[in-house]
């Protein structure tokens, strides 16, 4: 008989976070989940652009030449966001609401002092497409500290992070690809999956190149070693051309893409997704 799976939910970042823990005592799993959710709440306080005293709000209020000290978690989230921006050629943009061209400011970052400064014009950070994933990465570290490893973490149904699978001989956590017919699933283990689409929130992904919403009716899934990267890449996959997605996946080990175009059963896969899709059980 498989081990029971304990499921706990928590509201944060205007959506639901979920922790699934296979096996062990439920009370211990619940307390560990509560500690993990406390990390999610803290991450929201740090990253939310809607909270006037958050560190991201402090950065967004900077004028050129000003500097603010941030905590290591915010610094690391920004570093990841910036490297994903470079990796995707700007298709993932952590500051897509900023002025264009020469009016757009640039961040100066000093790792030794954990300082973030602004140079040039204005910059408006919005970590909405990476923050949920980053919160999952931090929450997972907390669960590991509690020696829990058979864990799946989910944010808003769109960001998933699996540690070890749910049991001996089970090849990871089964994840179905929403909206795909015929149903397809994959087994997720020690990896993260991010997904994007326009079915739930409408046309909410803006192409930083055109300033227009992405209107291609795609659904995308991104696989990556961290939930932050998977979260950000699934947004980039909404915008990039298939050949661009393919070359990013081949240049970066551990990255993968599934793109469903036109609502049909045609799925384009690239990178580490190749060959792992199964018909849903």
């Amino acid at each position: 008989m498989p081990d029971p799976i304990h499921v706990f939910r928590h509201e944060a970042m205007a959506t639901f976070f979920e922790v699934r823990i296979a096996g062990g005592e439920r009370a211990y799993a619940e307390q560990a989940s509560q500690a993990a959710f406390a990390i999610v709440d803290r991450t929201e306080r740090l990253l939310s652009r809607y909270d006037e005293s958050s560190e991201i709000s402090q950065i967004n209020r900077l004028h050129p030449g000003e500097v603010v000290r941030v905590c290591p978690d915010v610094f690391e989230c920004l570093e990841q966001a910036l490297s994903l921006q470079l990796m995707t050629g700007g298709a993932f943009d952590p500051a897509f609401g900023s002025p264009a061209g020469a009016d757009r400011g640039r961040l100066l970052m000093d790792r030794d002092g954990l300082l973030v400064g602004l140079e040039g014009g204005r910059l408006s950070l919005d970590l909405g497409a990476i923050g949920k994933g980053y919160a999952l990465d931090l929450a997972a570290a907390e669960l590991r500290a509690w020696d829990l490893s058979r864990v799946l973490l989910v944010a808003g149904g769109s960001s998933l992070l699996a540690l070890d699978g749910p049991g001996e001989g089970i090849p990871g956590w089964e994840v179905s690809l929403g909206g795909v017919t015929p149903p397809r699933s994959l087994a997720l283990e020690n990896r993260a999956l991010g997904s994007s689409g326009t079915a739930v929130k409408g046309e909410h992904i803006v192409n930083p190149g055109t300033g227009e919403p992405a209107r291609n009716g795609r659904r995308t899934w991104a696989m990556a070693p961290s939930a932050a990267a998977a979260d950000a890449l699934s947004t980039a996959w909404m915008i990039l051309a298939p050949d661009e997605i393919g070359s990013i996946c081949s240049a970066n080990p551990g990255i993968g893409a599934i793109v469903q175009t036109g609502g049909g059963s045609d799925l384009l896969t690239a990178g580490c997704f190749s060959g792992i899709l199964n018909p849903r059980k």
Partner: protein, 438 residues
């Protein structure tokens, strides 16, 4: 421009990171000017105070102290990321003995340790920022005030709203200079928090039983959930209520003259302290009597946390959370537009259906008009504890006075101890003026 070309440009002009070896932060004090600080208690609240202190220029952590290895290591690792290499101590007496150059200590241990820790630090010549509540006993709180006076050291109590610019503007400008509320007759406040499981701990990180006993805990569960045990903490009126009952006292000009209350262990089965309470305070203001109700719930989060002051001309609702903050004008009150022009208030955006008063001779019949709601013109640009810590460190540098010294905080301690007493006595309890002075 082709799309691919644009993306290249966007990346080049994007938020590019690059490191600079030199510190960017202007005003970062030289090491010789910095204040050396220790954190005593690296739990949830201690970590918040540590993070916010790290944003203040010229502060150097030199030590952390916690009986729990798990917390101590967290503090040491976290501070190392900021370039503060700190010594870690298990026992606070050991820390005070070895850290002779320490200037200030942030105390964020469980409440029943506050008096011994704060007094021990002050007697060793350190200034102390101590989390609220001051103590879980009246005598403990009084002894802290006495030690502050005897040693001449600073003892700031962590009622951080006392340094929050939103609260200072509300009290000094809106209620003070502009007297926008008129005579205050009633007030209320609440802190509602969602139901939660007791705190746990990673199994491998449990503290040995003899260590727990030595520091006053029955077991690991009590150590982690000390707030619910009477010998360690003061229950939810103390943990959550203290913040708002302190604001009631502060804004109404002093402690209440009486209190009645109800509460009980209605939900949780393994806690000593009640989980919900409702309290009625009576205040004597120079303008007359004002009554305040206060509710704390640890089983539901609806409405969050705020304080509200109601006068004959308006109502101020205020919270650390800006979304719960606004000020409403009674329909019969004088026009507030002059105060908007003086930037005391943010403009009211009248709903489309509100009657216009451009022609006093013409009456207008329709649904009851909404009270005019104005915003406060204050944005807190920092984490909520930072201004109170800045106030403390400025006072350590001899610049300015503490916003919440222990003798002032004692007013709130007494109101809360009496409210807890009233919950169990099930009757109104008088608070004599002499009881409120430490």
């Amino acid at each position: 421009m082709g799309r691919r070309q644009f993306l290249t440009t966007a990346a080049a002009g994007a938020a590019i990171a690059f490191a600079r070896p030199a510190r960017l932060l202007a005003g970062d004090a030289a090491p010789s000017d910095s204040i050396s600080v220790a954190l005593l208690g690296v739990g949830a609240q201690g970590r918040v105070l540590m993070e916010d202190t790290l944003k203040i220029p010229g502060i150097r952590f030199v030590a952390v102290c916690d009986i729990w290895d798990y917390n101590r290591q967290y503090g040491q690792r976290y501070l190392r990321k900021f370039g503060h290499s700190v010594r870690a101590y298990h026992d606070f007496g050991d820390m005070l003995e070895k850290e002779k150059d320490l200037q200030a200590v942030i105390v964020a241990t469980p409440d029943f340790w506050h008096a011994p820790h704060a007094i021990g630090c002050m007697k060793a010549g350190k200034h102390v920022y101590c989390e609220k509540m001051m103590s879980n006993t009246i005598e403990g709180a009084r002894s802290m005030v006495r030690a502050m006076r005897e040693t001449g050291r600073l003892l700031q109590i962590g009622h951080q709203r006392r340094s929050n610019p939103r609260y200072l503007v509300a009290l000094n400008d809106l209620l003070g200079k502009a007297n926008l509320l008129g005579r205050i007759t009633t007030a209320n406040g609440q802190w509602n928090r969602a139901v939660s499981a007791d705190l746990g701990w990673p199994a491998r990180a449990a503290i040995p039983a003899d260590t727990l006993k030595r520091y006053g805990y029955e077991d690991m569960h009590q150590f982690r959930n000390w707030r619910w045990f009477k010998k360690c903490g003061g229950g939810p009126l103390s943990d959550l209520g203290a913040h708002q009952i302190d604001i009631l006292n502060w804004f109404l000009g002093g402690p209440p003259v009486s209190v009645m209350a109800a509460g009980g262990n209605d939900y949780y089965t393994n806690h000593e302290w009640f989980d919900n309470a409702m309290v009625l305070f009576e205040y004597r203001l120079p303008t007359g009597t004002a009554r305040a109700s206060y509710q704390v719930a640890t089983t539901t989060s609806a409405g969050g946390y705020f304080e509200q002051f109601m006068g004959v001309e308006g109502t101020l609702k205020i919270s650390e959370n800006p979304k719960y903050t606004s000020i409403l004008r009674e329909a019969n009150a004088p026009d507030w537009e002059p105060w908007v022009r003086l930037h005391y208030l943010q403009p009211w955006e009248a709903p489309a259906l509100a009657p216009t008063d451009s022609d006093d001779a013409v009456a207008d019949a329709r649904e009851t008009a909404e009270l005019a709601t104005y915003g406060l013109p204050v944005v807190l640009r920092k984490p909520v504890h930072q201004p109170h810590l800045e106030n403390f460190f400025n006072a350590v540098r001899g610049k300015g006075k503490l916003n919440c010294p222990a003798d002032e905080a004692f007013h709130s301690e007494i109101a809360i101890f009496k409210a807890c007493e009233a919950v169990y006595a099930r009757k109104q309890i008088q608070i004599a003026p002499e009881e409120t002075i430490a």
